[in-house]
Symmetry: C2
Subunit: 459 residues, 2 copies
């Protein structure tokens, strides 16, 4: 098949042309018009047929590759991947491994002459002082309410619903949004509402140990679930989990992005198991190649709870985040919160509202995206890097016989702080690697760090 596809673009529509093509191709696959294995027209042919520039089509294809709808066969074009509804879960890809977590232990600024490559920490100095002052001045101008709103400020919930639609394509209404203090707080609220002591709860292995600890404290019986280079492996998930905590946009810390087929399999698993998927979208805004993938939540709002935070896009000292879930679950979360007098400080909410409404926050994110992409590129010369072009960290896999702890010590001796991947494992580590974070480290220092690490690695 070639250009006989039911495609067309509408220049008067508000949506970018590439996004129009992407949406139509996705629809063609899910509706069965395009079948697994079919070859797509070349970008040149499709561009000519639609009367658009080739760049537009290339960009649309890149997005679909990124999402896993298409797969490439070297030198022979683009093919539809096996993502038909009801397709069986894909078999585990070539055994990868795993690594690093939101640990704050090594996350401070470098002390002394050490260049600390801390994972999961954004760049505080990148925050424009004028923007920060403006946000808090607005917050202070709003007199305090008599009592905290358990759901969060209605105006902020509405503004966040719009932001999530713009930035993540989430079609949500304000009553699906609960304001939290961040991912841990959101997860803790979900656990209080859904988990009973002894319930089996899946976490990614390796994964975010902070999330594990939140679930453990809620009484969960923790079940580590293997991840590979693409993320969690749906075919291996036990059927008796009550909940699965996962990071599909950018697996923490391995960096995989869950492909469409796995996403479908994951949703099918959750439905069959009666389990809830908690989707932690901690740094979904930071992708440097293609637009972020649509959130898992969009595929089935009844099976997925979505968690977001300002800790990566702004700063962890801000302390705000959100849960997106069904209105009924949002109401349960608010009730659980009432029982323990939980709250999100109102001025923090007003400050976030101000930054969202003014566009300040999105301008900041765009600025940081560029900055982080440059820093990431500075590390790319190192051999053994894993993970997508996204986020604030990268995983460096080490040669066999080069234990991570020893490597970290050698790196420290050369003035660079790195984190052995072991600490992202709940059980026995299955990956020999270190995590390099560049969120909190200025570009010049990242370059120096890369230079210092290079001689420690194979040529």
């Amino acid at each position: 098949m070639t250009t006989s596809l039911p495609l067309g673009v509408d220049r008067s529509a508000g949506t970018p042309l590439a996004a129009q093509i992407t949406a139509q191709l996705r629809e063609s696959v899910t509706s069965g018009v395009l079948r697994a294995g079919e070859r797509l027209p070349s970008t040149r042919d499709l561009a000519a047929a639609l009367g658009v520039s080739r760049t537009v089509v290339t960009s649309a294809y890149a997005q679909l590759f990124a999402e896993g709808w298409l797969e490439g066969r070297h030198g022979s074009g683009s093919y539809v991947a096996d993502v038909a509804p009801g397709a069986p879960a894909d078999p585990p890809p070539p055994a990868p491994s795993g690594l690093a977590s939101f640990s704050t232990a090594s996350a401070g600024p470098g002390d002394g002459g050490l260049i600390e490559l801390a994972a999961g920490v954004p760049w505080a100095e990148g925050i424009d002082p004028a923007m920060w002052r403006r946000a808090w001045r607005h917050a202070g101008a709003r007199p305090p309410s008599p009592f905290p709103d358990l759901y969060g400020l209605p105006s902020l919930r509405a503004e966040l619903a719009r932001y999530l639609r713009r930035s993540r394509g989430l079609a949500v209404t304000p009553d699906q949004v609960l304001i939290t203090r961040g991912v841990s707080n959101g997860l803790s609220a979900v656990a209080a509402a859904l988990i009973r002591p002894g319930d089996r709860v899946g976490i990614e292995e390796p994964g975010y140990q902070g999330g594990l600890e939140v679930l453990r404290r809620a009484g969960a019986d923790i079940v580590p679930c293997r991840v590979d280079a693409n993320g969690v492996v749906p075919g291996e998930l036990p059927s008796d989990l009550r909940l699965l905590y996962t990071t599909p946009a950018h697996q923490y810390p391995l960096g995989g992005r869950l492909p469409v087929a796995r996403r479908q399999a994951l949703i099918a698993w959750a439905r069959a198991a009666g389990a809830v998927i908690v989707e932690d979208d901690y740094d979904g805004e930071f992708r440097y190649d293609v637009a972020p993938l649509p959130a898992l939540f969009s595929m089935d709002p009844s099976a997925v709870v979505y968690l977001g935070t300002t800790s990566k896009i702004l700063t962890p000292v801000f302390g705000a985040g959100w849960v997106v879930a069904s209105p009924a679950l949002v109401a349960s979360l608010a009730e659980c919160r009432r029982q323990v007098s939980e709250r999100v400080p109102e001025p923090v909410q007003y400050a976030l509202l101000s930054m969202l409404a003014s566009g300040d926050l999105e301008r900041h994110i765009r600025k940081m995206r560029l900055e982080y992409a440059r820093r990431r590129a500075a590390l790319m010369a190192l051999p053994g890097l894993r993970g997508d072009s996204a986020g604030l960290h990268v995983v460096l896999e080490l040669p066999a016989g080069r234990p991570a702890a020893g490597f970290a010590a050698e790196a420290a001796a050369r003035g660079v702080g790195v984190t052995p991947a072991d600490r992202y494992f709940c059980g026995e580590p299955t990956l020999n690697a270190v995590v390099l974070g560049y969120g909190a480290t200025p570009l010049a220092q990242v370059r120096r760090a890369a230079g210092a690490l290079r001689p420690l690695l194979p040529p």
Copy 2:
């Protein structure tokens, strides 16, 4: 005995004369110079002997009565109470009963024409908008740190140590202070550090149900402990508790203030049982008769963890508080917090720092103290009121055969919202009463409410 006491005043000292006399009399009792049952000189005689006004001595005696060092026998003067070190726990006083909690269910502003007498909520409109703006402007002027300090800002910990010394007589160093988001958050941190699932934990019955729920979620096996008009009854505490959560300054909700003898017995019990006492000083700043009692923490910093909050002195939408404990426990709490990426938003801490350092917060507290005292006085005409002259609520005991739920319905029919005391009980309620809060209700409305309730009560 009369004026042969080793007393004297020093007009050149910075301390008020009444406080000097109070301190010396306390010392005389603890050192054994004054013994249980001894009669004190009359205020007139002692004033003459010391060359001070009678008001000074009356005020000193009132404080010592309030603290439980003295007891009065009607018409025959003031006597030293039985508070000798090692004195046995006092027998349970004439069976009182119990009631109300920090519930937020009925804590919103009155809707429609209802005058809501919500418990535990302060007056948001009493906060000077200029003070509020100033605090947040200062907060916004401080650029965000790269990563949250797990203990809280060092400058705020130091400032709070000074505040606690001034306002509550606590001799604490900054390393004994951990910044929290409030009482629940502090209790949750303490529970995470000290409680293992299945540990037996005592709570007051009736008591703060939010505290109970925090402890329950931490896996505690909850043991309700009876309180009477004076507070918790140390002689009845089981010896196998790991922790006791208590409100000695102003029992929530009954309003009792734990007398010195019970405080001593409580400390002795904790030492013998190897238990930790968690002292919730949620509204210790609001007393309308005498100065607040010294905190339990001062008696034994190794056995007591002290919790404070801005929720009553300022507003629950602010979201800050503090734990005061040994430096070692403070370090454990910070470590527990690290494990789950807990934080207190930094701008909230800077705003509190600003209000403390400028004196704004203490000016606000003084203003509110006067305001709340007036509102409380407006309720005093009602028969059946219980509890000390303190805090933001009062308990109204109802005649037998007048169930609280029915009374609340009748009150609502007359335009007044009150809270049945049942909801402060974990088990079967043993007190027929309602709770009347006046923190969030302007004076004129409190007066109207009192007028509306009066005809519902016995003459």
